[in-house]
C-alpha cells in the first residue's frame, strides 16, 4: 500500500514561510492570493493489505515522529 501523510501547521500557529510565499506571489502579479500555509508531504510504502491496520500504524508514526503535535496537524491518505 502507498500512503501519503500531509503535515501542516495547526490553525493559529504563525507560518512565516507561508507568509513569505504569499508576499512573493503577490509581488509576481497574483494579487488574488490571500493567506498561504505551507507544510510537508511524506510518502510511505506500507507492507500488508489491511487498510485499517495501516491507518492505525501510520497514526502512531505521526504521533511519535512524523508530526510535532504541539504545532502541527496531519492527514493520512491511503491508496
Amino acid at each position: 500500500m502507498k500512503a501519503r501523510v500531509f503535515v501542516t501547521l495547526k490553525n493559529g500557529v504563525l507560518d512565516p514561510q507561508g507568509k513569505a510565499i504569499g508576499h512573493a506571489l503577490n509581488g509576481l502579479g497574483f494579487p488574488q492570493v490571500g493567506e498561504v500555509r505551507q507544510g510537508k508531504l511524506i510518502e510511505l510504502e506500507i507492507a500488508g493489505s489491511d487498510a485499517d491496520k495501516a491507518r492505525a500504524d501510520i497514526k502512531a508514526m505521526c504521533e511519535k515522529l512524523l508530526a510535532n503535535t504541539v504545532i502541527e496537524k496531519y492527514e493520512i491518505e491511503l491508496k
Binding site: 500557529v13 512565516p16 511519535k64 504545532i71
Partner: protein, 220 residues
Amino acid sequence: MKAAVIVFPASNCDRDAKVALTEMTGKAPAMVWHQDSDLPDVDLVVIPGGFSYGDYLRCGAMASQSPVMRAVKAHAEKGGAVLGICNGFQVLTESHLLPGALMRNAGLKFVCKPVTLKVEETQSAFTCGYNNGQSVVFPVAHGEGNYYADDATLDRLEGEGRVVFRYAANPNGSARDIAGILSEKRNVLGMMPHPERVVDGATGGTDGRALFKSLIETLS
C-alpha cells in the same frame, strides 16, 4: 560537578561545551555518543548546539529518538540536571522534556549575533549566581529559535517562574520574548542563546560563567 556532553552526528557546539566545562569545573566532561544507551554517573548532562541529523524532518526530531535520549530522560526523571543549548533546546522540546516548540524565525533569516538577555529567574540551579533582572550578553546562532506554546502553557510558565531568560530585543519572534525555560521540576533548562561561548574574555565575554558557577555550587 561531573558533567557529560551528548554528541549527535552534526552537533557542532559539543566541543565549545567541553572547553567551557573543562575551564569552569577543572575536569573534562564525558563525551557521550548518541548511540550509547547508558550515561556515566554525572550531575549534569549538556545537550549541545548544532544541526543534529542535519535538521531532517524537524530540528531535534531525529535526535529525540536516539538511544541516548532514553538515558537522558531517565536522568531528568530522577531529578538530574539537563542543560539544552540551541539545538539542545530543540531536542528537549521534541523529547517532551520541555513544553512548546521552536519554530522558524519570524524574519526567516538565520540570526547570528550577540543579544542582550534579562535574567528573569534566579531560583534555579542554573541561575542562582545571577542577580534578578540582571542584563547579560550571550550570542545566538539559529534559524529556528522562535519559541511557541499555547497561551495556557505560556501563562503557566510565567506563573510558575519558569521563564529564566528573556530577550531585551526579540531576534526571532519568540512568544513573550522567551529565550530560555525550565521544566516543571526546575532541573531541565532549555535556551537558544549560548552561555558556553561566553566563559572566556578573550573570546567573546564572560557573562556565561555565572551559569556554570551556579551549577557547580548547586550540584557539587
